[in-house]
């Protein structure tokens, strides 16, 4: 390295962040601003007029459907979050504390990623022949004599939606939890044991608190993914349930763009509130800096 590169001009850091900043501005900033503008414009169902109005928000906020949609979506998010957290924590715990061998750890970790070799859609759709009325699972239960009639709640139900979410998003929980668990110094666990702590006490007083950065990061991933989904809801509920985004999709299909935009802004606000609540519980930035 030449000496001159050490003597950088005050502009250097700005130039260094410029490429990413430009991409973010073009790909995130401009569309967001467009949505925001659109949400304040008027429409008669056919044409959109660039004139300011609160009508779209009034429509969205006064409609009882909005609350139902949000509650339904939040229910999916909460159920998925709880399940992925439990599975993600357990898998990570197993990988970090039981599979001590690094080669096995990497091997099993890659195994977790195998579902990602195909697209989301195929992974989702492949549940249908399994869960259907004449599906593999129902037939197995019937032939085992557990039930006489096929179970209807398995497919095209909230159960199917949440199950698919869990299947699709658990890895997003495993990776960050694994990452923060792997950083736990094994001596800390020995120190806890030396102080007389039982296995459960070690789990609750040492491992869970020290994995919280990973849990928080994973929660942000899962919550934002579920809140932003419409396809899984549409397919796996068989059109019987709706989420915020699937309702938005309907509005767009009917060319109610400004109303959909207002709904989108509301959703962004809600998701931002949820993420900042998570960040308030766990200070991810200071934990990651360690």
């Amino acid at each position: 390295m030449s000496r001159s590169s050490g003597r950088s001009s005050p502009l250097t850091p700005y130039l260094q962040v410029a490429p990413l900043a430009l991409i973010m501005l073009a790909m995130v900033g401009i569309p967001l601003i467009t949505v925001l503008l659109l949400s304040f414009w008027q429409t008669d169902g056919i044409t959109i007029y660039s004139e300011f109005t609160w009508d779209n928000y009034a429509q969205v906020l006064t409609s009882p459907v909005t609350l139902t949609l949000f509650l339904n979506t939040l229910k999916y998010a909460a159920l998925t979050l709880i399940a992925t957290m439990l599975i993600g924590f357990t898998c990570s715990y197993f990988l970090v504390f039981h599979v001590r061998n690094l080669k096995w750890q990497i091997g099993l970790f890659l195994l977790c990623t195998i579902p990602f070799w195909t697209s989301n859609v195929i992974r989702m759709v492949s549940w249908i022949p399994f869960l259907g009325r004449e599906g593999v699972f129902n037939q197995a239960l019937i032939s085992a004599g557990v039930i006489d009639q096929p179970l209807d709640i398995l497919l095209y139900s909230d159960f199917a939606v949440v199950l698919t979410y869990i299947h699709l998003f658990t890895l997003f929980m495993i990776v960050p939890i694994f990452n923060s668990m792997a950083k736990i110094n094994p001596n800390l666990i020995e120190a806890a044991r030396d102080a007389g702590a039982s296995g459960w006490q070690i789990l609750w007083t040492v491992i869970v608190p020290l994995s919280r950065t990973g849990i928080a990061l994973g929660s942000i991933f899962v919550v934002t993914l579920v809140m932003g989904d419409f396809f899984v809801v549409r397919v796996m509920s068989g059109g019987q349930s709706a989420s915020v985004v699937s309702a938005m999709k309907n509005q767009i299909d009917q060319l109610f763009y400004p109303e959909a935009a207002a709904m989108a802004v509301l959703l962004i606000v809600v998701v931002l509130l949820m993420v900042s609540a998570i960040l308030r519980i766990v200070d991810i930035r200071s934990e990651l800096a360690k």
């Binding site: 800390l188 120190a191 044991r193 030396d194 102080a195 702590a197 006490q201």
Partner: protein, 371 residues
């Protein structure tokens, strides 16, 4: 406080696969004593310590504390507390909660345990930092917290795994004094693993020198230093030169030994020093006189290859033609009265009583740490 903190180790072996990390070790550590285990890395000292703490189970043999067999007792219920080398403080807990941890897992109420933890922190002079996180402390302070956390369980035995190795020289000496003071105050058994000879000599009532999973010698520091069991102990603990030769004759309380290069030495007689025997013996480095002119009877001749001023003495290294340097600690007055230059040939001599026959056969070089 004596017998209830006495430790008996009988025939303890620890296998890792086919490697014997600790090989059939017998050791008695008196209650209320300060015991230092010393040896090069991989000698099994830490494994032995961890077996006493219960973090490893012996492959065979028994460990008792205060007459109670604790070989398979649960860690944390056997009256030991371990202080880890890197302190292993919980990074997410304040100092108070770190120290109170063992009370918390016992189910003590929050307020009660915090009061006790603060008292313990006061005792290690950290009461004013009680609400800080470990990452906000210096290495020395973290160590005191680790000590407080270990002591709050009222252990019968405190186990210290290289407690001073992460500190700088100045702090190390200060903490060394503090550890000794604490041990005197508490009257419990301290077992301290180290690889630093001066630390062991300064602190211990009993020094346990280990090599390759075996105890080479377990004795008082004075005994270890003056009467090392084997060439390995003599070299590892330092302060000694090791010479080898064949016993020519014995008469009364002295024996005569001839080395391969023809030098003759007198030696106090000892069991095993019989005519014809090949033996090794040590010579205290600080009991050697130097003279430039005449070769003395009980001495050797060599070329000075290095001199090092150490404040109270001067370390002179001689090349005597053998593989090992012959080292002399010369009092500083003697040296300044007649300075010796590198390259000079000089004669060293000593009283027969400065020699000691090394009974043990372990002749490995160890890793003598010069201070």
């Amino acid at each position: 406080m004596s017998d209830i903190s006495r430790i008996d180790i009988k025939g303890v072996t620890k296998l890792y696969g086919s490697v014997k990390a600790v090989n059939n070790v017998d050791l008695v550590i008196e209650g209320g004593s300060y015991c230092c285990m010393i040896g090069p890395s991989g000698c099994g000292k830490t494994t032995l310590l961890r077996m006493i703490a219960g973090h490893e189970a012996p492959s065979s043999g028994t460990i008792s504390i205060g007459g109670q067999d604790v070989t398979h007792a649960k860690t944390g219920s056997r009256g030991t507390a371990l202080m880890f080398q890197n302190y292993a403080l919980f990074p997410h807990l304040s100092l108070t909660d770190n120290v109170a941890f063992s009370l918390r897992v016992k189910g003590e109420a929050t307020e009660a345990r915090r009061v006790k933890a603060r008292e313990m922190l006061d005792r290690v002079q950290l009461g004013h930092l009680a609400d800080r996180l470990p990452s906000e402390l210096s290495g020395g302070q973290q160590q005191r917290v680790a000590l407080a956390r270990a002591l709050i369980t009222n252990p019968k035995v405190l186990l210290l795994d290289e407690p001073l190795s992460a500190l700088d020289e100045f702090l190390r000496l200060r903490m060394r004094v503090e550890l000794k003071r604490l041990q005197n105050e508490l009257g419990i058994t301290f077992i301290h693993v180290t690889h630093t000879q001066p630390e062991a000599i300064a602190l211990a009532d009993q020094v346990v020198v280990m090599d390759h999973g075996l105890i080479e010698q377990a004795a008082s520091p004075r005994e270890i230093y003056n009467h090392p069991h084997s060439p390995y102990v003599a070299r590892f603990m330092g302060g000694q030169n090791v010479l080898a030769g064949k016993v020519e004759s014995t008469s009364g309380d002295s024996a005569s030994v001839t080395t391969a290069d023809g030098h003759r030495y007198d030696l106090p007689s000892a069991p095993g020093v019989t005519p014809g025997a090949e033996i090794r013996f040590s010579v205290r480095r600080d009991r050697i006189h130097l003279s430039p002119d005449t070769p003395a009877r009980n001495g050797l001749t060599g070329k000075v290859i290095n001199t090092e001023y150490q404040g109270t003495f001067v370390k002179v290294a001689l090349d005597t033609g053998s593989r090992e340097e012959f080292i002399i600690y010369l009092p500083d007055e003697a040296w300044f009265a007649r300075p010796i230059t590198v390259g000079e040939t000089i004669h060293a001599s000593w009283e027969p009583t400065a020699s000691h026959h090394l009974k043990g056969t372990n002749n490995s070089a160890g890793a003598p740490l010069e201070d």
